[in-house]
């Protein structure tokens, strides 16, 4: 078992630096976030003292999330979006990087006033990765997640009432059983599971997929969540019911001042729902920006390929082959290509062999091409 963690405690100076060099008033500043999963080595390799191979699920990403926005994180499976989401709420410990977050004032107060530890903060921001684990529960309540599989996310042996009471019990938020029940009923009403009394006694398998997902949302809300990572929340729900759930999520966002990180592989849903989208490939963000602009005017070759691959319900489509400007298949995340990790699949590279030097050797940085529009591509930067 190898623990490689570059995290040192981020002191308030460092936080100040970051805040001053970034755009103001964001909810979250993610800086150089890394999550590597180290593979077990065989005996021989251990003896030879070779460094362990790792799956670089998230490989140094940097982005901001604005308060009250729906930020979309899109890409194909294996690109690292789900891992990013989980690291963001500290479900996984990252291998490196910082997540600077501005919690509610009361939360920050509680954080700093309990215990004899000194939480480094600046201007109301903390690096959630350097908050000691046993003090993390205050932040826990604000940073929540909704999972892809609504059935799997609910304990099949607990009734809905119990499931929703869990967070209240764990964090000791309420004093009496009566108050707890009251909160649970209100939460059910918020997610439109009406009448709530009907649902209290049921087990998860007695609910439909959409209803289960709503229970998951209620569970996040009941704790007083502020930032919710939604990991493909509708992909396992029938198409004709998705909009209902998405609509509910947007409604709740307005009412409770939530911020979402919306993870999806479906760009159409991302466009519909999100204010901004970031596209990930093999652990890196390769394009980011306003949702409409990104989809209407994609810059990165990968984004273009993704968009062209998506079939729309247009009867003319069957009459022609779909042209998808991309080669080959996604490589394993254990052996990431050198230079720009997309280069083995890039058709633009074929057309512009003069870029070979750069694309094969150096990794393109994520650059702000236009205000709030980012790309990581040598070709785009050149033009």
């Amino acid at each position: 078992m190898i623990i490689v963690n570059e995290n040192k405690v981020t002191d308030s100076e460092k936080i100040r630096e970051i805040l001053e060099s970034s755009k103001p008033n964001r909810l979250i500043y993610v800086r150089n976030l890394k999550k590597y999963f180290f593979l077990r080595r065989g005996l021989l390799e251990t003896l030879k003292r070779k460094p362990p191979k790792s799956v670089k699920a998230v490989d140094d990403i940097t982005f901001d999330i604005k308060p009250l926005e729906t930020f979309g994180l899109a890409g194909e499976s294996g690109c690292g979006k789900t891992t990013t989401g989980k690291v963001l709420i500290r479900l996984y410990e990252p291998t490196g990087g910082m997540i600077i977050y501005k919690p509610r004032e009361e939360t920050l107060d509680k954080l700093t006033n309990t215990g004899n530890i000194n939480i480094e903060k600046y201007d109301g921001y903390v690096d959630i990765l350097s908050v000691p684990r046993n003090h993390f529960s205050y932040l826990r309540r604000e940073l929540q997640m909704i999972f892809q599989d609504p059935y799997g996310a609910l304990n099949p042996r607990m009734r809905i009432k119990e499931i929703l009471e869990e967070p209240l019990v764990i964090h000791n938020l309420v004093d009496s059983a009566e108050e707890r029940l009251d909160r649970v009923i209100r939460a059910l009403e918020e997610v439109r599971l009406i009448p709530p009394e009907d649902f209290l006694d049921r087990f998860p398998h007695m609910l439909s997929g959409g209803q289960r997902q709503r229970v998951c949302i209620a569970r996040a809300l009941i704790m007083g969540a502020r930032f919710i990572v939604a990991d493909e929340p509708v992909s396992m729900i029938d198409v004709s019911l998705r909009a209902e759930l998405l609509n509910l999520m947007m409604d709740l966002k307005k009412r409770h001042n939530l911020t979402y990180l919306f993870i999806t592989h479906d760009l159409a849903v991302a466009r519909y729902l999100c204010d901004r989208i970031a596209i990930m490939y093999l652990g890196k963000i390769i394009e980011m920006g306003d949702a409409d602009d990104l989809i209407d005017n994609p810059l990165h070759p990968y984004t273009k390929a993704l968009i062209s691959a998506i079939p729309e319900p247009d009867p003319e489509n069957r009459k022609r082959m779909r042209v998808v400007p991309i080669k080959g298949e996604v490589p394993s995340a254990v052996s990431i290509p050198s230079g720009c990790r997309f280069h083995p699949r890039c058709v633009v590279l074929d057309e512009h062999p003069e870029l070979q030097e750069k694309c094969l050797k150096k990794e393109p940085p994520l650059i702000e091409i236009k205000p709030d529009r980012y790309v990581a591509c040598w070709y785009v930067m050149k033009s």
């Binding site: 479900l91 826990r140 929540q144 892809q148 996310a153 099949p156 869990e166 059983a177």
Partner: protein
């Protein structure tokens, strides 16, 4: 606006029990098991009502059981035999009915005497004649006891004449017991008397026999002719008189009464053993002990094992590896020999033994539980619980063990027979060094030690054995049914 608290707890419990029962009753084997369990549990619980607590407490007090026939098969055996077997009779004559003479046989002595008659009209002789004198002898003094038998053919046999104290304690009194088959003085007297009618040949033949035992009673009740000693003479039916006389040498000693016990050939629901103990008592109390041991061991070991397995799985990594290696070591230890030694050392009550067994038995469910826990650990709802801030403890107990508990119940039921059998084995081997309570294993030990199989005392061996089997079967049936219903791996 206040919302009423919805009373969920009891109705919830009732509902889930109802649902569970609906499924359970589909399993015939489970129902059979349940019925058996109810029977066994009632027997175990009502042990003090079915038999007496006194019987239980005196299990190891041989004098308590002297009035019972020894090595007697159960009463119901009579249904299967054509011969009429003598019924066990106890006749008590109180001191008021004795003839009391002072100054008999000499000055300063007091003598009580009585004649008790017995009608022998059976095809088989009784297994023993026991005369018990009850009373109290003064400190340092003793009494003279004379017993004479007057047969229907007129012969008088001076069976017993001796001076002794009343050494046995029976209730509030002391007693002196003379058993015609077991008290050597008495049996030798009968044999000597019979020899005068016997042929030289036959006398030589029986000279190798031990001078006591059942055969002596046969002699007593046989016709006074050749073959009397070897059991070839016919039985003499008629009225037998037992003349008992007790002489005290002091003023204080007193007589309470005398009992004439015609020990039948059969006794009780389950017969008697070599000490005359009513095996029914032993088996009924053994039932309680077996259930206690079985259930206690099983419950403790299953809980420990489940907890161990889950913790190991949840912690993972080095802790898991370590815990598994420890488990492997304990699991490979030879349970039985170690238990034998430990029982020997720590002496045992049923409770000790149960704890010792639990010490080794916990390894049973560990592997299965661990793999179940590993699977559950990966489920999204566990991840969701972590995201909510649930700590390790809560996740292990509520989420993981909560899922495994139903399966654990099935395991518990299935472990009970093993525990009972192990205890039986240990008691069987250790005998007196093992548990002191009359567990079925202990009874079997006593049977083996007394050579029950050689003597053909089948009831002593088969009945406890059958009980062990039935109890084991009960739990296996219940456990299998539970397993089929509750095992999540077999479900859906």
């Amino acid at each position: 606006m206040k919302r009423g608290d919805i009373p969920l707890k009891i109705s919830e419990l009732k509902k889930s029990i109802k649902e569970f029962w609906n499924e359970y009753k589909n399993y015939k084997s489970g129902i059979v098991g349940l019925v058996l369990l109810i029977i066994l549990a009632s027997v175990a619980a009502g042990a003090s009502l079915i038999t007496s607590v006194e019987d239980y407490n005196n299990w190891y007090n041989p004098t308590y059981w002297r009035e019972n026939p020894v090595d007697a098969p159960p009463v119901w055996v009579n249904f299967f035999t054509s011969k009429k077997l003598p019924v066990h009779q106890v006749e008590f004559v109180s001191v008021e009915d004795f003839k009391y003479v002072e100054g008999e046989p000499t000055e300063g002595l007091r003598t009580y005497s009585v004649n008790i008659s017995y009608e022998f009209k059976y095809d088989v002789e009784p297994s023993d004649i026991i005369i018990r004198i009850l009373g109290a002898v003064a400190e340092g003094k003793n009494a003279s006891i004379t017993i004479t038998v007057i047969r229907p053919d007129g012969h008088r046999i001076n069976v017993y004449k001796a001076v002794s104290t009343f050494p046995e304690l029976v209730g509030n009194y002391s007693a002196k017991t003379v058993s015609f088959s077991r008290t050597s003085k008495a049996s030798s007297a009968i044999i000597k008397w019979a020899s005068q009618f016997e042929s030289e040949e036959n006398i030589r033949e029986v000279s190798g026999y031990p001078p006591h035992g059942d055969w002596v009673i046969r002699v007593l009740f046989s016709k006074a002719e050749v073959g009397i000693l070897v059991g070839e003479a016919e039985l003499l039916r008629g009225e037998y008189q037992f003349s008992i006389s007790v002489t005290f040498f002091d003023e204080e000693s007193m007589l309470y009464g005398a009992k004439l016990i015609i020990a039948g050939s059969v006794y009780g629901w389950m017969g008697t053993d070599s000490l005359g103990r009513d095996l029914f008592v032993g088996i009924v109390w053994g039932c309680r002990l077996a259930l206690i041991i079985g259930v206690l061991t099983s419950v403790i070991s299953t809980f420990v094992g489940v907890f161990y397995g889950v913790l190991s799985a949840y912690k993972g990594g080095l802790v898991d590896e370590l815990m598994q290696r420890i488990y492997e070591i304990v699991a490979s230890m030879p349970l039985f020999p170690i238990l034998l030694i430990l029982s020997w050392k720590f002496g045992a009550t049923v409770w000790n033994l149960a704890l010792l067994m639990a010490l080794f038995w916990w390894t049973g469910p560990v592997k299965t539980v661990r793999s179940m826990a590993l699977q559950i650990k990966e489920e999204t709802y566990v991840e969701a619980a972590k995201a909510m801030g649930a700590g390790t403890w809560r996740i292990v107990t509520k989420y993981i063990i909560g899922q495994i508990i139903p399966y654990a119940f099935a395991i518990m039921a299935l472990n009970v027979p093993g525990a009972i059998l192990t205890e039986a084995g240990i008691s069987f081997l250790l005998g007196g060094r093992g548990t002191r309570e009359p567990t079925w294993g202990r009874i079997l030990h006593d049977a083996a030690a007394a050579g029950a199989t050689l003597k053909g005392l089948w009831w002593w061996v088969i009945l406890p054995g059958v009980m062990i089997t039935i109890t084991g079967l009960t739990f296996v049936l219940i456990g299998s049914a539970l397993d089929k219903i509750l095992n999540p791996m077999l479900k859906r």
